[in-house]
């Protein structure tokens, strides 16, 4: 019960706080607790819609609410159009030393699942590298790959594939 209360408290804090102070104690590897917190917060978000102090990470008017970087076929080069997005998240990390992000690399569905996992890792690593160049600390960022396993678009054409070649940015607790 104590733990449930703690999670609720954390989620209230993260939902309301304008300065998203990351909860202490739940590090990036502690997935179950952070997932619970994320679910709790989602249910809270509707109520807090009118809150005058919006979380910049979720405020639709903030560039930080944009969380996907898209890639060309067979490429892991972060394109110019996503430079400002990557830099904004790096700045946020720089200014919030307790903040942690998980970068999840993705590929389209063609080819070997394990090889695609490695290709997605390369994309996540490329974004991580760009963020550290912009001043984020290496220890704040974990780059992982989900390969072709979690497509955004379910189609089997170039339009769908282009949507699936991406890196998603997830903050701790999301």
């Amino acid at each position: 019960m104590k733990k449930v209360l703690g999670v609720l408290l954390i989620s209230l804090l993260t939902a309301c706080a304008s300065q998203t102070k990351q909860s202490d104690g739940a590090d990036v590897e502690d997935r179950d607790r952070s997932r619970d917190a994320a679910m709790q917060r989602e249910s809270k978000q509707a109520e807090d819609y009118t809150s005058p102090t919006l979380n910049p990470l979720t405020d639709p008017n903030s560039i930080l609410s944009k969380r996907s970087i898209y890639f060309d076929f067979d490429s892991y080069v972060v394109k110019d159009e996503f430079r400002s997005l990557v830099a904004a998240h790096a700045k946020y990390l720089r200014e919030h030393s307790n903040a942690r992000v998980l970068l999840q690399g993705h590929t389209d569905e063609r080819g070997s699942r394990e090889y695609n996992l490695a290709l997605g890792q390369r994309r996540a690593d490329a974004v991580k590298y760009a963020m550290t160049l912009s001043g984020a600390q290496e220890g704040q960022i974990e780059a992982v790959s989900l390969g072709e396993e979690k497509p955004n678009a379910m189609g089997h054409d170039e339009a769908a594939w282009a949507e699936n070649r991406r890196v998603d940015i997830r903050y701790q607790g999301e």
């Binding site: 394990e114 090889y115 989900l146 997830r170």
Partner: protein
């Protein structure tokens, strides 16, 4: 690897002539779900006579299972048994079977005995020599009938080919139904499926421990890939590779003590060795490219793996031991995409996925000659793995955008779709031979 089907010396040398006669005398029966390529001149014509008492077993009949097992290998031609029903050797009229072109004949009985059990006796007869080649005797409970049929097929296969049968082995695969991913284990013919673990997040890359008691696999349940080892009998499991970054592509060493895994913890995707309980981390490959999909040689001295160090994904081989002298040797040169290598059980070659144009196909390459043979002509083949006797390759493919499992004989001549449940099936892995307990 890849020998043409060799007929056992025990069989009459006139089988080919008899087979020709049979072709002339009887219409070729097309079996459901089975595509047979090539002439079939090397196929052994065998007759499987329904057992005495078998009609009482209904849906649990033995001979349809035996026939399907044998036919799936592509090494046998099933001879029509219509009108002839011998169950004991004295009832066999050999001239009739010679006329039908059968080289071998399986007959026998399945009789209910006390306690609801069924007493099974099957004899395999050489038609030309009019002699017994082998026999099978066992009393089983009804729920063991299907397993017994696989053991009978193993006996027939071994007597007629001189090779070990794999019909009593199991396969593992992942089935996606809606948002649910289920890692399942089934008999080699796709029946008797049992879930091992189920999640709403993806599961990939199941790998059998050499003794068949454990499965390693990659689960995404924690927002990133983590390698687990699960004991099938107890369902207990352990995260054996859960390092910072991605953890994937587990492959067992032949002694079952170590796993090769792919980790990004030290940058890139590189191959490492760990103990099967997760300890003893040791780096194996050292490249600036992607190194993934390791597979151990049967003697444990080498791994083959996919790497893009040369610009495109190709297959390489390197020694597992040997310190600084470990040099990777490139094995594939045809095309710009060769991935997912798996050693053959005899260590003389490997199967892999080769892309040409827009098609991804199962191929086999021989180490000695370097010769590549494409086994399929489908569009989206993935994850090939050898049967433990090296005679077939199990792989995932697609029919109308739905994932299914198929098996192809190592000579490419016979393909069969495995019985499939509803859902999207992928990531098959053929398990080891079952040792006697």
């Amino acid at each position: 690897m890849l020998p043409t089907p060799s007929r056992s010396h025990k069989l009459s040398g006139s089988a080919a002539v008899l087979f020709f006669l049979w072709l002339v005398c009887s219409p070729v029966q097309a079996a459901l779900n089975i595509e047979i390529f090539g002439g079939g001149a090397n196929q052994i014509p065998v007759a499987i006579v329904p057992l005495a008492g078998e009609e009482r077993l209904g849906a649990q009949s033995l001979t349809p299972v035996i026939s399907a097992d044998l036919q799936r290998t592509g090494l046998f031609k099933l001879v029509d048994t219509g009108g002839l029903r011998p169950h004991e050797p004295v009832e066999v009229s050999y001239p009739d079977w010679i006329n039908r072109g059968a080289s071998a004949l399986a007959i026998g009985t399945a009789i209910p005995v006390s306690g609801g059990q069924i007493s099974i006796r099957v004899r395999l007869l050489d038609v030309a020599r009019q002699a017994e080649l082998g026999s099978y005797v066992e009393t089983v409970p009804p729920e063991q009938l299907r397993a017994a049929a696989h053991r009978i097929a193993d006996m027939i296969y071994e007597k007629l080919t001189g090779d070990v049968g794999v019909f009593s082995t199991r396969i593992a695969y992942v089935i996606k139904q809606g948002k649910k991913y289920s890692l399942q284990v089934a008999d080699a013919d796709g029946f008797n499926a049992q879930p091992v673990i189920e999640y709403t997040e993806p599961i990939i890359s199941p790998a059998w421990s050499p003794d068949g008691t454990r499965l390693a696999y990659v689960s995404f349940e924690n927002k990133k890939p983590v390698v687990y080892v699960q004991t099938l009998a107890t369902r207990t499991r352990k995260a054996v590779a859960n390092f910072r970054g991605s953890n994937s592509a587990p492959a067992w060493s032949p002694d079952g003590k170590k796993l090769a895994v792919v980790l990004s913890v030290m940058g890139g995707s590189q191959i490492f060795l760990i103990n099967s309980d997760g300890g003893g981390l040791q780096r194996l490959t050292q490249s600036s490219g992607i190194d993934t999909e390791p597979s151990f040689s049967p003697d444990g001295r080498y791994i083959i793996f996919t790497s893009d160090r040369g610009g495109s994904p190709q297959i390489y081989r390197m020694p597992v031991t040997g310190g600084a002298s470990k040099v990777a040797e490139r094995l594939t040169f045809e095309g710009s995409y060769n991935v997912s290598p798996r050693y053959s059980p005899d260590g003389k070659g490997f199967t892999f996925i080769h892309r040409s144009g827009d098609s991804f196909n199962v191929a086999i390459q021989d180490f000695a000659t370097g010769q590549v043979r494409l086994l399929t002509d489908s569009k989206f083949d993935e994850s090939p793995s050898f049967a433990p006797n090296g005679r077939m390759v199990l792989y995932a493919t697609e029919i109308r955008r739905r994932g299914i499992l198929s098996a192809v004989s190592s000579d490419g001549r016979t393909r069969q779709q495995l019985s499939t449940q509803a859902g999207d099936i992928r990531e098959p892995a053929w398990g080891p031979l079952r040792r006697l307990q």
